[in-house]
């Protein structure tokens, strides 16, 4: 389900984006009438969420434009009490709408979206969420984007897959997310897989995360350099899909 998220492109919008992405395919767009118009054509969203941050001239234009074209479009408006009352007359004309008043939590927005879309399967969404939470988090580190994309596609069904295309980004992700397992390439420009691994071990917080090397480096010395630090596994690229799955399963069960 496509959702257009309109608002000033700031932290609030990004975090809202992140949250809504759990159930929707979200696109962000700044609060500009022409942009919104074009985005609606490009994206063909099922629902629009507008975060009215400040009452500028544009805002009025936006709603007029929307009313002009899509008065039947489900819309969720997030504004302050003041703004909402200013917009009262415009908003009243939308057929399917939810008007939310700040302060509120991101889950309120989600709830409003579901309600307005008449999604009875509220349960389904929450269940999906819980499933997502239960899914183990795997970080795939590889400088080869093709491999990252392939691994994501392969593992997405069973795991929550995070990607990093450099050692530095991998360490960043490790800081932010509670990763359960790392699939790590050996040879990368900048920080090598081995260095990443050494960082992982050195860090008290991450040292227990199983690390599986996934690499086409089959040079004996390099392999032994890595094996000294006892990674959970060492798989040669390109790996058979079943093999990766079984190793991951094994590694995650053992923890």
């Amino acid at each position: 389900m496509k959702l257009l998220l309109v608002g000033e492109l700031n932290e609030t919008l990004y975090s809202l984006n992140e949250y809504l992405s759990k159930s929707f395919q979200v696109q962000m767009c700044s609060e500009n009438a022409q942009n919104i118009k074009d985005m609606i054509r490009l994206l063909r969203p099922s629902i629009i969420v507008v975060n009215v941050f400040e009452m500028k001239d544009d805002v009025m234009k936006i709603f007029q434009m929307l009313l002009d074209k899509l008065d039947a479009m489900p819309i969720v408006v997030i504004g302050t009490a003041q703004i909402n009352s200013d917009l009262q007359t415009e908003l009243a004309k939308f057929k399917k709408k939810k008007i939310l008043t700040r302060p509120l939590s991101t889950s309120d927005v989600m709830k409003a979206c579901n309600e307005i879309l008449d999604i009875d399967e509220k349960e389904k969404i929450t269940e999906e969420q819980t499933q997502k939470i239960e899914k183990k988090k795997i970080l795939v580190v590889d400088d080869n984007a093709l491999i990252l994309r392939k691994m994501k596609q392969l593992l997405e069904d069973e795991y929550q897959v995070f990607l990093a295309n450099s050692g530095e980004k991998a360490l960043e992700s490790l800081e932010k997310k509670e990763i359960n397992l790392i699939l790590l390439d050996y040879e990368m420009p900048g920080m090598s897989g081995r260095e990443v691994f050494e960082h992982v071990i050195a860090n008290e917080k991450t040292k227990n995360i199983p690390v599986v090397f996934l690499t086409s480096v089959s040079d004996k010395n390099q392999i032994f350099e890595v094996l000294v630090n006892k990674p959970y596994g060492y798989i040669l690229k390109p790996p058979a899909y079943d093999k990766i799955k079984s190793i991951l399963k094994e590694a995650l069960v053992e923890r």
């Binding site: 994309r149 990607l163 295309n165 060492y234």
Partner: protein, 989 residues
């Protein structure tokens, strides 16, 4: 105390000084008080039988002389009272008058000999110049240097002369006895035999022999004739303990030689005794034989030394060898002095030699005891370390083995040459058995360190037995053996116990049975009876028709690492750990393994287990179901139903997998649910043709789930046939399920042809086609006809490999698409780096990039491209610019060609069917910023979604090409490149 010490020291010096100085300086004042004794200096004449006279030596051994005469000196000291003479019984006359006579008693066996001793013939000053005539009775041929003087004086002289001998002999005796006492008590305490005891006995006997043979025997023992026999008997005994000792010291290497020597000795000894007892020969007459026997013994020891010296074993008992050498030298010195210096046999040197030997042997014993002790401590420490080591080692060993197996798999995948593949398969087998071995070792170390736990959980007896038989089945088949199972029908279906360990035990025993069976087969039998209301006793037994076990070999079963009849079974694999683990596991479960075996006919291993009953439902005819299932693996499926949808609901993933595997060739679409609750959700989403619903599940069970079917809204499957899956196979079960609303029921373990019948019965006819589907290799399970043509159009592609690596064709399709998209930017990049060569940094970047291309190309089965990339990578690693120069251009042109071939295949994807939107500069850059953020976060999904949006704009041609570059950069996740291109676009718009 300091003063006291000083005083003690000064006084000691003074007292000893007084003694020594006094003895040295002051005149001798004891001469007269010691009595008189001087050597007899007059000539002694032998009176021969014919009456003629002959001058003789004063120390003589002439047996033929029976009478001697001498004229006493005319100027005799008036104090002289005796003439001393050593020898056998005599009669002494002075001027024809009998003055002295000795006569030994003949006691028959007890000393009828006539022992040598010192005799004192009384003389006085008045006898000066008279003739002393001595008639020797029974001359044994020895008499000693004669003395004259007072009786006391002569004795004092003689005893002083042989004092050193008796002292050394006494010390040797004491040390010998001490050795015996100490070694015996140490042996008693430490429950060990200490070999030096024998040496102690030998040395003590030798010392006794010396004492009894010395002149002191005349002073010490009441019966001289027996005392004089005793040395001969001692000499007979002495060699034995030495031989025994040497035999032990030399670790029985020369046992036969010593046995032979001892037998000779024993023969001689017994013969001598018999001859002595029956009175045929005196001990002294046969002594030469005893001596020869001893020589044989000594000779064997010398031979053993020479052999050991050759093979270097002598080092192991170098102290003893050294001591024996010393004793040997001492014995020779002793003999030399005996023959050349004095007629009296003295053992002083020999005693010193024996003492030396004893000390050396003691050093040897202490040394080896110390070593044993040290070894023992080391062994204990090693054992502790071993446990720790083993448990921490699992990871270390497993990881490299996994690496080996991984690389081996690469060989198996990439090599098409049969012999190479055979070698690789061998490596794989070996690697897998190595892993199994490590698991065994870890189990053992777990058991030893007490960390092995038995964790009882509820388990399904039929699946446990089924798994067990599955694990043994193929092994039996490999050897052309049957593997049968007989199970009592009233065994409870669910029990509480550690099923994993029970299975391990059964598999171990069965494996063992298969190993040792060459024809016939193995049978697993399970019977049992209730112990009480809650518990059941299971009798497991495994019978085979193998080679059996000999009665005497049975205990070896229980020993670790031991293999029965090593020679006969040398080609049987395994470490022998399996049985040991089995025994220990059974012990942990409070049971024990019993064996009945008939050698050559087969064995039967059996044990009992008590388990708590969870579900007392009888298990039914399990054996038949299992064998039926086995038979059916051979059947080919007879129909296909590609469009049919079925749902399998079971909490046990293995059971779901079994159904899935059984049905994989039919081409059904199978959904799985792991609980009744999940099932209820899924029936609202899809319409299924058949639903298989397990009865026993945690949460909602099968019957409860079915009852919910009518109650929930949106149920798309109200009229779908629902079939119960159950382990209950008792009669009446079917009725129960039909009553509960099920359409039918299937008993577990699920059997293929019943499942097939069920499907044919319930899947709508129009969805079934009777085509027999050829089952291809696993790789092609996931059919996708739409895309098959597509793959055929790609040149130079190893499809089989690419599908294997990508998991399925859908993923592969996307990967190829991505690959096609990134080639352009990849080429650009390597061209750029190549121009900067031989700059070090550029070379490194070049290497990393071609390494990446190598991996990508391999990913999409482009073997030759990947190979070229590998050549370039190696060249870069080795700084071989020439090769890069030579190959680079070809590589780039090949890549570009491949791109040109691939790109059009995806153009249909790109052509946007929807109306293009006029370009909105503001929105474009805004979305590009969001895109860069997404790429920077490596959020692939979001980035791709934005790309989809961006494709909706209607770009002028020059910008469109830039946008294409951006799309490839997104696939490549290169945010820097995107920013660069974005600024370029900005200048153009």
């Amino acid at each position: 105390m300091k003063y006291i010490k000083g005083i003690f020291f000064v006084l000691s010096v003074l007292f000893f000084g007084y003694f020594i100085v006094g003895q040295l300086v002051l005149p001798i004042d004891l001469a007269s008080r010691r009595g008189l004794c001087s050597e007899y200096k007059e000539d002694i004449w032998a009176i021969l039988d014919d009456g003629s006279k002959e001058l003789v030596e004063k120390v003589s051994k002439n047996k033929d002389i029976n009478v001697i005469e001498t004229v006493l000196p005319s100027d005799m000291n008036p104090q002289i009272t005796h003439f001393c003479f050593g020898g056998n019984d005599i009669k002494a006359y002075i001027n024809g008058k009998l003055v002295y006579e000795t006569k030994s008693n003949n006691n028959g066996w007890f000393g009828k000999a006539n022992p040598e001793h010192y005799m004192m013939i009384p003389i006085s000053a008045s006898d000066a110049g008279k003739t002393l005539r001595i008639e020797i009775n029974d001359n044994e041929g020895i008499w000693y240097q004669p003395y004259i003087g007072t009786e006391y004086g002569i004795w004092a002289h003689v005893l002083k002369k042989y004092f050193s001998e008796i002292i050394v002999a006494a010390i040797t005796l004491i040390l010998g006895v001490l050795t015996i006492v100490v070694s015996k008590s140490y042996g008693y305490i430490s429950k060990k035999k200490i070999e030096i005891t024998y040496l102690g006995v030998g040395v003590a006997y030798s010392a006794i022999w010396l004492v009894v043979n010395s002149i002191y025997r005349q002073v010490l023992f009441p019966n001289l004739s027996i005392a004089s026999d005793f040395p001969f008997l001692m000499v007979m005994l002495i060699p034995y303990p030495f031989l025994i000792y040497m035999n032990i010291i030399q670790e029985k290497r020369f046992e036969r030689m010593y046995m032979t020597a001892s037998c000779i000795l024993a023969y001689v000894d017994i013969m001598n005794c018999v001859l002595y007892i029956i009175g045929k020969k005196e001990l002294i007459d046969t002594f030469i034989l005893v001596a020869l026997g001893s020589m044989v013994a000594i000779f064997t020891v010398i031979v053993s030394f020479i052999i050991d010296l050759k093979n270097g074993k002598i080092k192991e008992y170098k102290f003893v060898a050294f001591g024996l050498l010393g004793a040997f030298v001492a014995a020779i010195v002793q003999l030399v002095t005996y023959f050349f210096r004095s007629g009296i046999f003295s053992g002083a040197y020999l005693a010193v030699g024996l003492l030396f030997l004893l000390i050396c042997a003691a050093i040897h014993t202490v040394h080896s005891l110390f070593l044993i002790e040290k070894d023992k401590t080391a062994a204990i420490m090693a054992s502790e370390a071993k446990g720790k080591f083993l448990s921490s080692m699992s990871h270390e060993i497993r990881t490299p083995i996994n690496a080996v197996l991984g690389m081996d798999e690469m060989i198996l995948r990439e090599s098409k040459e049969n012999n190479i593949r055979d070698y690789a398969l061998d490596i794989q087998n070996a690697g897998k058995s190595l892993l199994a071995l490590i698991n065994d070792i870890l189990d053992i170390s777990k058991i030893e360190s007490g960390k092995m736990e038995i964790r009882p959980i509820e388990y399904d007896m039929s699946s446990m037995l089924n798994d067990t038989m599955n694990m043994i089945d193929h092994k039996a088949k490999e050897k052309d053996l049957y593997a049968e199972i007989h199970v009592d029908t009233d065994i409870p279906s669910r029990l509480l116990g550690d099923d994993i360990r029970i299975r391990q035990i059964l598999v171990n025993i069965l494996n063992n049975a298969v190993k040792y069976t060459n024809e016939g087969g193995v049978t697993l039998e399970l019977t049992g009876e209730p112990a009480d209301d809650n518990n059941y006793i299971l009798h497991f037994s495994v019978k085979d028709t193998g080679i059996g076990i000999k009665e005497e070999d049975l205990p070896k079963l229980y020993a670790r690492f031991e293999r029965i009849e090593e020679n006969r079974n040398r080609n049987i694999e395994g470490t022998g750990l399996g049985m040991n683990i089995t025994l220990q596991l059974l012990e942990l479960m409070g049971s024990k393994l019993n064996v009945k075996s008939e050698y050559g006919k087969g064995s039967c291993f059996y044990f009992d287990l008590k388990q708590e009953i969870v579900d007392a439902q009888p298990i039914g005819n399990l054996a038949e179901r299992i064998s039926e299932q086995k038979r059916e693996y051979k059947y080919k499926n007879s129909f296909s139903a590609k469009d049919a949808m079925i749902l399998v609901v079971d909490d046990n993933a293995v059971n779901r997998k079994v159904v899935r595997n059984l049905l994989k060739d039919i081409g059904l679409m199978i959904d799985e649910a792991d609980s009744g609750e999940r099932c209820l959700e899924m029936i609202c989403e899809k319409k299924y043709d058949v639903i298989f619903l397990d009865h026993m599940m945690p949460g909602l069970d099968g019957i409860e789930t079915l009852q919910q079917f009518d109650k929930i809204q949106n149920n798309l499957n109200l009229d779908t046939p629902v079939i119960a899956l159950t382990a209950n196979a008792i009669s009446g079960a079917k009725e129960m399920y039909l009553k509960a609303g099920f359409n039918d029921f299937l008993s577990k373990p699920v059997v293929y042809n019943k499942l097939e019948k069920m499907l044919i019965k319930y899947i709508p006819e129009k969805k079934i086609s009777s085509v027999v589907v050829e089952s291809g290799p696993d790789v092609f399970i996931e059919e996708n006809s739409k895309k098959d043509d597509f793959f055929d159009n790609i040149p130079d592609m190893n499809l089989e490999y690419a599908v294997l690596v990508n998991g399925n064709k859908d993923v592969l399709y996307n990967t190829i698409k991505d690959f096609a998209m990134v080639i352009e930017s990849d080429v650009k990049e390597i061209n750029q780096y190549k121009q900067m060569l031989p700059d070090e940094e550029a070379l490194k970047q070049y290497r990393v990039k071609v390494h990446g291309i190598k991996a990508s190309a391999l990913l999409v089965g482009q073997m030759s491209l990947s190979g070229m990339a590998r050549v370039l990578e190696l060249a870069a690693i080795n700084h071989n610019i020439d090769i890069i120069e030579a190959v680079h251009d070809t590589f780039v042109s090949q890549l570009t060609e491949r791109k040109n071939q691939l790109k059009p295949l995806f153009d249909t994807d790109n052509s946007n069917t929807q109306d293009l939107v006029d370009i909105n500069k503001d929105l474009l850059f805004e979305q590009l910023e969001i895109l860069i953020q997404a790429v920077s976060d490596v959020d692939v999904d979001r980035a791709d979604e934005i790309v989809d949006i961006l494709k909706g704009f209607d770009y002028p041609d020059d910008i469109r090409s830039k946008m294409d570059e951006i799309y490839s950069a997104v696939i490549n996740l290169d945010e820097n490149l995107i920013s660069e291109i974005m600024s370029e676009i900005k200048t153009k718009i």
